[in-house]
Symmetry: C2
């Protein structure tokens, strides 16, 4: 079964890693959100892309969810001693990624080509694609009328400002990264990973040509909300602030017609019937990925469910 996964940061990276464990390398493409990319200290930083790649490469820090394991902090500490802002943590090893990516972007290389080379160097098998080679920047619109760059909202302000909406700067000009539409055309199944629907998955689906290519396929989403809470990050808080009670069902309603199937946690099994009422096939299972084996287990269940959807479509 050929699969395209849509992923944001930590949760998406974990399921992508599970899929990479259970699928033949050539059958998996992961399209990653780049709406949270930003420039810091003159460097081009792609947090979700790095989280996905570090996770697939086995380099990720299992405690933080971002950055690399066994990091050192010499450069950022030296910069902070000179007055640099410390809100965005930049490990020395991680800096190596940003340095070389920035060098190549400045030299005119496309982010997708750079990512492919980095994946080769890191020994990553599946194809990992940024959603677009063009810069797209997620802007968080707050109740106070501010427009915040995503990382300032997410990291600097710890998601504290109340959100009113989102805007994806540059989205009109952005085209799918080379290979993304081809992978979708070739795919049997699209898996929307348990990533934030508003700021991780929405930018991907907002790229001209990507949503249509996704909608052409059987799509299955895994809920990032368990028991009304986000496993990680501000997804539940965002639902609330947008006037929607956060729940697995609310995620299914959010994706709506796009979905053929929806995986929700056993804790939310009571919502399965309501999901079915939306015309979406539900699967209730343990969706928390506690370790590497847990990722593979959930991925295998997701694929089995996908196979069921395909034969019963």
């Amino acid at each position: 079964m050929k699969v395209v996964a849509l992923a944001g940061g930590v949760g998406g990276a974990k399921l992508a890693d599970g899929l990479a464990q259970v699928l033949p390398t050539e059958d998996l493409t992961i399209i990653v959100n780049t709406g949270d990319d930003f420039e810091h200290f003159g460097l081009s930083i792609c947090p979700d892309l790095d989280t996905v790649c570090y996770t697939l490469a086995g380099l990720a820090n299992p405690e933080t969810g971002w950055g690399q394991a066994s990091e050192s902090w010499v450069a950022i500490e030296a910069a902070k001693a000179l007055g640099a802002p410390g809100w965005f943590n930049l490990g020395d090893r991680d800096l190596g990624t940003h340095l070389e990516r920035t060098r190549r972007l400045r030299g005119g290389d496309a982010l997708s080509a750079i990512t492919a080379d980095f994946c080769r160097a890191w020994g990553i098998g599946p194809q990992v694609l940024p959603m677009s080679d063009a810069p797209v920047r997620t802007i968080v619109q707050t109740r106070d009328g501010d427009e915040l760059a995503f990382q300032n909202y997410f990291v600097e302000l710890r998601c504290e400002p109340e959100v009113r909406g989102f805007r994806f700067e540059g989205i009109e000009a952005a085209r799918p990264a080379p290979g993304a539409v081809d992978a979708l055309i070739a795919a049997d199944l699209v898996v929307i990973c348990p990533s934030n629907p508003w700021v991780s998955v929405a930018p991907i689906l907002a790229i001209d040509g990507l949503r249509a290519a996704v909608a052409d396929k059987p799509v299955l989403a895994v809920s990032p909300i368990i028991g009304g809470q986000a496993v990680k990050g501000p997804a539940a808080k965002m639902f609330r602030e947008l006037g929607i009670a956060p729940s697995a069902l609310a995620v299914a309603q959010h994706y709506g017609d796009l979905l053929a199937g929806f995986v929700l946690d056993t804790a939310d099994a009571g919502q399965a019937e309501a999901v079915q009422g939306l015309g979406i096939m539900p699967l209730a299972t343990a969706t928390l990925m506690q370790d590497t084996a847990g990722r593979a287990r959930l991925a295998a269940e997701v694929l089995e469910f996908g196979g069921y959807l395909l034969t019963n479509a």
Copy 2:
């Protein structure tokens, strides 16, 4: 005695450090070449400015002459594993400087203001000024007709290409950094440190307004050439390739009318008479600065000689 020192990299930094040891803080201003500044990995790097500051702060690596002591190399090694060029060494601690300088330059701050803040953070007393806040880029013109950016010539190609001349890109638009002309007006003496005349001192003197302000004062230079050899770097090789036999005398001739006095090594004492024949007062002494005390010793001799020149002008 109020002194302005003109400095390039290692040799200039050492004498500047000696002057800082023997002069009251408020009586010393160091104007530093920025013609070898460049952008690498998207970062703004100022090698001479950093060498001078690291040396004055006691942070410099005494073995290499560049970078900081007790460095680690995690970031650049991670970048090299992704295919990054390794010809320019970037230590993690050193990277902290480049990150914060780049962040502030992008934010619109002037290099001179950034340098002043860095000096405060590093506990550096004397005023250290870049020659200009405007970018000036030394271009090395080769016999083969190539035009090489300075760091590519100097570090990547290890000064191997034969030089035919030099060009300072941006020099027409560059103005002296704020405070540089004021410091020169207030100065009793200008000391040209034992830096490369062609690529360290020439860019400083080529800034509109700086050469005239320097020429208005008693100027004394310390020879970077001892026994026909450069203590460090390509100065002697450059003299040869430009058709001039490298010697202390050749350095004095190069600066010519600008100089009131010239300090050459005892090894070259035989050239003192010829220097005097140019109308320049010579002083032969031990000019090699082997350690911190040696820098202070030479600085004290230079200042004593300067005092002699002032009272006998």
